[in-house]
């Protein structure tokens, strides 16, 4: 059963920046008129249009075919002794939220865990989703700021 996930301001801003970057990239690729990157352009266009099933984050393979980004693309390049589980982000946020004193209901919402009898979206619950999301986003923004993580801009203009 699908459950919504909150996006904090920094992530929202990062997605906005990324989409602007993709848009600029598509224009540049289109200007190149290279048939080899047609598939890549189509994939980026799908991400920009928010088409159902289309991956938002794509990478170009050595043969310039689009590949959806997975955790291997994030952690795979690290040396073996530095590697961490693929879902290390979830581990991190669960622990960070617990340390910050968030209630287990909020953490379950963040992790999209469903505990039988305690599902957040049933008529036996009294906490609104928005309040829970506000608490989660506030915490994430605070931690990301502490870590010095902020939104990064990419390409902007169509061509240089």
């Amino acid at each position: 059963m699908a459950m919504p996930v909150p996006l904090n301001k920094i992530v929202k801003e990062q997605i906005r920046q990324y989409l602007a970057h993709c848009q600029a990239l598509v224009r540049r690729f289109t200007d190149l008129s290279d048939k080899r990157i047609a598939k890549l352009i189509a994939a980026l266009q799908s991400a920009l249009n928010g088409e159902p099933g289309a991956p938002l984050l794509v990478l170009a393979s050595p043969r310039l075919t689009p590949v959806a980004v997975g955790s291997a693309n994030v952690w795979g390049d690290f040396p073996k002794h530095l590697r961490v589980p693929a879902n290390v982000g979830r581990h991190f946020w669960q622990n960070a939220a617990r340390q910050a004193g968030l209630s287990s209901h909020d953490i379950d919402r963040l992790m999209r865990h469903r505990v039988v009898g305690l599902e957040p979206n049933t008529n036996s619950q009294i906490r609104p989703a928005a309040e829970s999301f506000d608490r989660i986003c506030e915490l994430q923004e605070r931690i990301l700021t502490e870590l010095g993580i902020k939104a990064i801009s990419g390409l902007r203009r169509a061509s240089t």
Binding site: A2, S103, S124, I126, P128, F133
Partner: protein
Amino acid sequence: MKTKAGTLLKLPTVLVARDRSRRTHFLHSKDIGTGSSKFANYQIEFLSQFGSSHAGCASVLGCLIGFDGVCHNDDIEAAYAACAGAAKYRDQVRIDWARGAQIDARHISVFTQVAASQVKTWLGFHEARDDLLKFLKSCKSHQNHPDDINAFWLQFLRDAQAWLQDQLPPVLFGHVTHAACLSALPRSALVRDITLMAVVKEKIDENVPAEVSPDVWSRCFEAAWLGKKSSGESGAEFVDKLVRCLIEAKHGSHAARRSRILGNLQQHSTSLADTNEFSALLFAHAFDLLENGTRGKKVIAPGTPYDYLQSYAMEMFRLVDDRKLGQLSLKSYLEIFNTLLDPEKLKVNSKRAAGLLAFHRFLREWWTVPQLPAAMFKTAEDSGVNANLIWPHELTRIQMWLQSDSNSRFHAQLRCAFSILGATMMRIGELMYLRMENLKDEGDHIMVEVARRMRDGKEKTKEGRRRVFVRDECALKEVRSWLARRDQEEYLPEELVFCQLGKPNQVAMPGKFYFWLNKLLKSATGDTAVSTHTMRHGTASFVFKNMLAENSALEINPMDHLANEAGHAGAHVTTAKYCHMFEQGLHDAIDRSIRDIVNNSDIAARWSAKSAQTLRQRKSRHTRALRDTGSLARQNMYLHAIKAFSDQTVWPSIDSGLLLTDAVNPMANVRAGEHTVSRVVLILEDLSAGHHAEQVALRRDCNLATVNSILKSVGTFSDQHGDADDELQDPLAYGLSSLKDRSGDQLGIVPAFARTRQVHLRPLLRHLDSADRNLLSRFSQYWVMSLRDGHFGLRLRPGIEDIATLLANCGLNKTLIAVRHNRLCESADPSKFEEMLNSVKSIFHAKLGQSPPLIPKKKRAGRPAVWLVIASSAKNAIKDGSGTSMDGFNCLMLSLYVWLHLTHEANS
């Protein structure tokens, strides 16, 4: 989650799934974020476009959807129509509308209030909707709208639901989308809250005093509670005899015929002890029909109860088949009614449907049975709104009524029961079988363990085995006082809390206990649909209301805690069925969500008819003066400005159009455990009718010793005033035989106790129940002294005014009263004779409203100068045919004489 296959439902606008415990899961649609943000934009655009000076029907509709959580297509039209009848409840403006057997309601937002107050002419719903859609098409947020108007409308509502799913507590989201509805309180319940009065559901016929026969009611409910298995005499024969008791006599007025049928029923009530639950309840229903009529008609024709019961009673008896009505599932209960309401059978007997509806309503009011659909009886009116509660002030009122007799064990028992029921969510069946070992005083609270013994039967469900807590100060005091009393009675831990003394496993007077618990609630509220079960709804509703207001982020879901207290499998059952006060929580949740939108001076200016600059200045001053930059008061300043503007509209109060009355204590005239003159009259009537002493004790809810003592008093009286033999006789046996002697020779008066019910003697009887004992004692002495002379004379001495008052109040036939005088009396000073006569005349004229006839009498030794007589009309020389009135009067006076002896014995 285990979801039943095929239970995925697609309601018109929201996706839900129900699990095995009937809990509703709200699924998230894929575009929930988009829909939610589109709706948030709509709210801003709407508030920026409309306002106090640009309001109309479309803006009312827009406000209802935007700021009142009305988002279901079926609700919007009803809510829009209800806006014209919005009413003030406390500091909120409330609208409500019916939704089947439920009521939905909102405390409307300040925006809706402003918009509704500006409407001059209310347009039809569809016109208003079209106007709103026109505005929506012009909004940036809805640029890509579907062309089809209906599709556009549904899309808009879906967006509203997406926003509400995000912002509302899920339990309220389920309500606004119809996925899991709650039920709001009817206006009558809210009116009781603000006026502190009882509601009158139907017009009272003042000529017909409401009668209460607690003894019969108590016996019915006792039989129903204990519910023996029916057999032979106690089964079908009982029902058959009951129906025959209702056969209407052919002559006499309606009142007299009803009274005769009631008499038949009272006689038949002696067989109640051996009957089963269904038969006892049927009897109670027949009695209720005669005493209180139906919901539609307070006074029914004397033949109606017979028409009703003969149409279905025997068949229903067979269908119920000795099962307990209170434990029937909805399916079984429905099956019985479906069989009885077979159209073919209804053709044969037209009264059957009406009779069954009346019986079902009676069961809903006094017993615990499931609700049936209104369509089943082919009536537009439903069998009552599901929601109701008892307000704290009503419980306090009941406790005050019960305080009037602080020594009575029964009253203390009721006080303790009300305290436990009011403070916890216990069921009446659980309370009845509570044992002393289940109550534990733990300092600041009393823990009550609901865990029945095997012999007392199982709990309703396995979740029913639980612990509940009494925390309320007043309730704690009452329960502790009952425990102290039980301590004095040297209780054993395994005894029932409300046991009969010396019988640890028997509830003390269960029928009477059950009857008064319910009757007091009905009297305090004026609502006949209220019962002890309603107290569970009250407790749950108050807790739920506070829960919504607290908005806490506790680890433990407070609703689960409430469900545990209620003995339910989950909080979804408790909220859907028991929590009725959600409007304020819904209103506050939406207000919190739109706080950022309202915090815009331009929007606030549009809706408060003030300039934006003024509002900004006000906020700035507040900030500077109080150095306040982040308080809630500062954040809500603009909202308060709009509220102040909306408050300029005068809304009608919610109590307008409802009939109200002061709540009357039904126990005032029925002092439990005490003997009144009325009760003695009934006992003497039973004895003279030939019932033996044990039977009378059972019928009149008193012990055998009391009946024997009454018989002894009668025996003594007969010995002094009747034609007694010279032989020394046992007063008990002589009393019984003299009461049965129809000629009245043995007793000295004719034992016609039925005549005490004559219309002109009824007020006297009521007066005798409440008058001062000393006065009554004097009154009785006069009567006894003068009985031999065939008249009742009052000598002119101090206190005669009191007696004149008593006679005036009793409404005695005035033709039977006369003043006799003897001018030549030696004891009287001739010069003062006229003065004395005038004084008597004036006293009686003032009290009775007319002067009694003055009859001169001859001189005789011992006669006073002036005296009063109440005698037969023949003796007063007034031939109006009312001479026999003296028999009824004499019977009343004999009852008074016996009562005085009885109370004298009790006091000594």
